[in-house]
Symmetry: C2
DNA sequence: TCTATATTTGACCAAAAGGTTAAACTAAAT
DNA sequence: ATTTAGTTTAACCTTTTGGTCAAATATAGA
């Protein structure tokens, strides 16, 4: 009998196996669409074990969400919090972010959908980030660059939204783009790689 | 007793009431999260009536999806299919699209999520669009503009993805942006209105 | 080896949710 | 007024699904 390709590697602890399987299933199907049985199958264990390690679906989901969130945010902050000038921040951000997205293709869609499903969760996870002053720092950085004449006058929020949009959205619309372009998975991957420089140029040119 | 705010207007036919209620609930909760009972309540009718008009949840969902899709696509195509030069297409597209998005705030997220949930549906809905040659037409238009020296050399697909990203993504990340900016619903609305010109300028400047 | 603790399982359970049905109600046609 | 076709409902059924439990198995310490 042929082995199914599961998230089962014998060296992993059961808890890790569960987390990986849950991550896979939740990211693909969302909280509502995910089935505990499917997660158990994917982890190669019994369903009751899920409840042994994580009390219930909600708790398991939160653990998965938190892990995805904690993997996403640090590199993002690292760039925005640094003191390098805005024109250098942009290519650096795109590099880090596109790399992350390639390794976690379903993360953005997952986070965005769950935010809409349960907006209260935004508070819990994003509140500390919001109050850390990253945004204000970014705004100030842009303002200074404008005063120095390095870039044209532009609303910092619009600029920020533009940057995030162009790096995140293509991953969210991945399947759609692949159909329209049309791209094979490999070609799409290359497309995203190109965007590191392509989008950097695009933004810098417009400033 | 105070009347609840339902999708119930006495002049609507039952079928319309159901479609509107289903649209509301499906858009907010997605296929998996939506409950037939909730749709029935929202429409102010009995649950069995849903099955009388639409055989089952799947069929009802398809009807809702189709309606959303048919409302989204025509204006989009109208602009891209027209023969006006690319530099005029951009502001026109943004105008139409942002206006549509404001009236259907949950449509993009809804469509994107469901495409991921059931990729097969892409084919059914988007196939005719893809084979209509819109994309090739857009590519040619950009190429011509490049040759005429109207815009700098740029990969048309990257350009197209940039345009779509900057207009669609802010609506998908609506809740997030409102928290971060921070914006009230009214302010966010104004923000999107600003983007009609802001993004147009941003793109044109970069070309 | 024997005991105690942690892990894992198969069998169940109760609630939720989609779907069905037969009967009641309405409104138009004869 | 009666019939007929379309509409609406309350009650019910079945399947799915998250969750539980007692028993079995492995693991480590005395």
């Amino acid at each position: 009998m042929i082995e199914r390709s599961k998230s089962t590697d014998n060296q992993m602890t059961t808890e890790e196996k569960i987390m990986n399987a849950a991550s896979l299933v939740f990211m693909k199907k969302g909280m509502d669409g995910a089935r505990m049985q499917e997660i158990a199958d994917e982890a190669g264990i019994n369903k009751a074990l899920l409840h042994y390690y994580f009390r219930n679906k909600e708790k398991l989901f939160e653990a998965v969400f938190k892990r995805a969130f904690d993997k996403l945010m640090p590199p993002l902050l690292e760039v925005f919090n640094s003191d390098i000038p805005i024109l250098e921040k942009i290519p650096r951000f795109l590099n880090l972010h596109v790399t992350f997205l390639r390794e976690n293709p379903n993360a953005p869609q997952f986070i965005l959908f769950e935010i809409q499903r349960n907006p209260q969760m935004i508070m819990e996870f994003f509140a500390p980030l919001i109050h850390s002053g990253v945004i204000d720092q970014f705004k100030e950085g842009v303002q200074k660059s404008i005063e120095k004449g390095e870039i044209r006058p532009i609303d910092p929020i619009h600029l920020l939204v533009n940057i995030i949009s162009m790096s995140v959205f293509p991953m969210v619309a991945r399947n759609l783009i692949m159909e329209f372009a049309p791209f094979s998975p490999t070609e799409f991957d290359q497309f995203m790689e190109e965007r590191k420089t392509s989008v950097s140029q695009f933004i810098i040119k417009s400033l």
